[in-house]
Symmetry: C2
Subunit: 393 residues, 2 copies
């Protein structure tokens, strides 16, 4: 039969992400295309211990329904970490647990966006956010990123030119660019927004992963009532549990909680309990230092190999996170490199889907978290050969 | 600051569910108000074993990101059970894993509803569905239920009078009424819909919980291309894992999968693995027989006590599931009974929020799954005293 779908579904750009997860799972391919944290760095034994304790001591509670807002001790842990690490005066009441921070994108858009509302994003912007927001049919406006953050003239122009509901940004090790906002850009963004009706949506998926171990000041600290910040355990503990959170002012969180309840009642309680048990048993900072030291080495290696093997490419130099972006020589299409790469068992991600208003055809995103140094050496060698052969007439 | 929320959030009826979960957790109160399966019947040891095995044998995979559609062996299990138990020709490709079947309500509405679209529901209708659908701003139409299902004249009139996008129903042990569609109503509903553009959304949360152990024919079997069916492990294994699914025609499932990916990438993979491991290690039918025999006894006891202690109340007589509805004597308000009940440590759920177009002020929903026979005896005694005192001038 002819299904009468909603208009919103026709407006979603076709997605690469699903395809990517499939490509990434072919063991012959060295993939720099995905967005996986390193499997090798997941503390499986620690999580197994935590799971065993939860099941033995409070399994009957952990397997039952729970409250929409999430497990209180876990929310207290998150709030305390914000207070101690970022000097943000968070309380557990201001934290809502969600299914990975991707769910924040959906629910936040749901409570704020009428069709045709204006949304600001970075250019390039995070693909998962573009997909989530698109279903609420906003008008997107983008502000170009340089290595120090959004270009301020463009940012100010966008904010003053129209009633933007919110600006979505990833100030720490942005996906896909790998850029981190400089301190003055953080202040600049907050100053430009202050007193306007525009909220700042600060996606902090990567803030724990700076190679120098030093936290950056969240924009949210400068805009307490006018910003929300999302976070996730996916990159520092384990993505398969799908546990993230939103930190938001009480009135925003109330609406967000209604949307969360309507969406799926609550996030899986067993995993919330296991995660919290794990956090009480382990030194998270020590675990993160281990991750960061590996990612830092892998990132430097990838940058060095790009410089050595492909000096024609420009690339960003991340201070943390999991991604960098490289710009191909003029005239070379990232789609061509993508398909030639797959044939030669190396996968990169074409930049186009991150450019919602077009462009980016000469950029590729490279992930450095999920391949060992050995794989990076081998994979970058393959990529260099692929790009050379694409460049030859 | 003044937050500029989306119009849709203003249209959500204020929710009882969150409040209920809180009330239900006060140990002094005997609650018939919630919707919890029996904690005592959760096989904690079995789940703990399954979790241990998954962590030991494939923890690193289970804790990593996975695919949006869900763990293939789990989808194969669900499809095989449909084929064997319900004679529905399901394949794994037609199953999408979600965070409890509540998420089906959200995502299905998301892919089908434009604001102002027409949606059909039972009267009374499931509160969680009303909340989920409301955020997409449809126009609701309701068809009264009697003990054998939707009143067919009203159903046919609704379907022919306007272009209803879908009719949402719970043919098996409906929430809140406890009614089960008779066989001829199932055929009647399918015949009335056939050839129209209206889909049937069959919520089958309770189909495994018939006290006689006999599966009923799903409406979906009569309308293969024009129906979807949602299911859940919450009532037969453990709700805290938040694992449910949608069974739908391929074209619908493709759109649904896009919405799922945008909403939260995928459901928690660790719990999918644990659940599947549990299912391969245990006889699900034997486990369900145990649940059903307890629920059947508790249901009969509650019906008998209602008849003995409160003969002025009419009530439904469920064939399965977890709920029944009782109608108070004329002039007695369910809200008055609710508040008087809380003061006397017994909680019931006022029927009003289940009646989206008004009414139901003289009905209460009673849950019989989550209180032991002893608690039911004590609680129904309290309720009888409360109602008597509310009735006296």
């Amino acid at each position: 039969m002819q299904y009468r779908f909603a208009d919103r579904i026709a407006r979603v750009p076709p997605s690469f992400l699903g395809e990517l997860f499939r490509v990434s799972s072919d063991p012959a391919i060295i993939s720099f295309a995905g967005g996986l944290p390193s499997s090798a760095l997941i503390d499986v034994e620690g999580m197994a211990d935590a799971a065993r304790q939860v099941m033995d001591e409070e399994g009957r509670t952990a397997l039952q329904y729970s409250t929409t807002d999430g497990f209180l001790p876990l929310r207290e842990y998150i709030a305390a970490r914000y207070r101690n690490r970022l000097r943000v005066p968070a309380t557990a009441d201001e934290i809502q647990i969600v299914n990975g921070s991707q769910q924040c994108l959906d629910l936040f858009a749901k409570i704020f966006l009428n069709p045709g509302d204006h949304v600001g994003m970075e250019r390039p912007g995070y693909l998962g956010a573009i997909e989530a927001f698109s279903l609420y049919e906003p008008v997107f406006h983008t502000v170009p990123l340089d290595e120090a953050g959004p270009e301020m003239a463009a940012f100010e122009k966008m904010v003053t030119a129209m009633p933007v509901k919110f600006f979505y940004g990833i100030p720490n090790s942005q996906n896909p660019s790998g850029c981190t906002y400089a301190e003055d850009r953080r202040r600049g963004v907050a100053e430009a927004l202050e007193g306007t009706g525009t909220l700042f949506y600060e996606d902090d998926a990567f803030g724990e992963l700076f190679f120098d171990g030093r936290p950056r000041v969240p924009v949210t600290r400068y805009l307490p009532e006018q910003a929300v910040m999302s976070g996730s355990f996916s990159k520092i503990i384990a993505p398969g549990m799908r546990i993230g959170w939103l930190y938001a002012p009480p009135e925003v969180l109330r609406a967000f909680n209604i949307a969360k309840q309507a969406a799926d009642l609550h996030s899986n309680f067993l995993c919330q309990k296991i995660l919290h048990r794990y956090l009480t048993m382990h030194d998270l900072d020590a675990h993160i230092r281990k991750i960061v030291s590996v990612y830092g080495r892998q990132c430097r290696l990838m940058c060095d190999l790009l410089d050595d093997l492909l000096p024609e490419l420009r690339h960003t130099t991340p201070q943390g996170g999991m991604f960098m972006t490289a710009t191909l020589p003029p005239g070379l299409s990232s789609m061509k490199v993508f398909y030639a790469g797959i044939e030669n068992n190396v996968a990169v991600l074409p930049g186009t889907p991150f450019f919602i208003d077009g462009g980016g055809t000469d950029t590729i995103r490279l992930n450095f978290s999920n391949a060992s140094e050995e794989k990076i050496k081998e994979g970058m060698g393959r990529l260099a050969r692929v790009i050379r052969s694409c460049m030859s007439p």
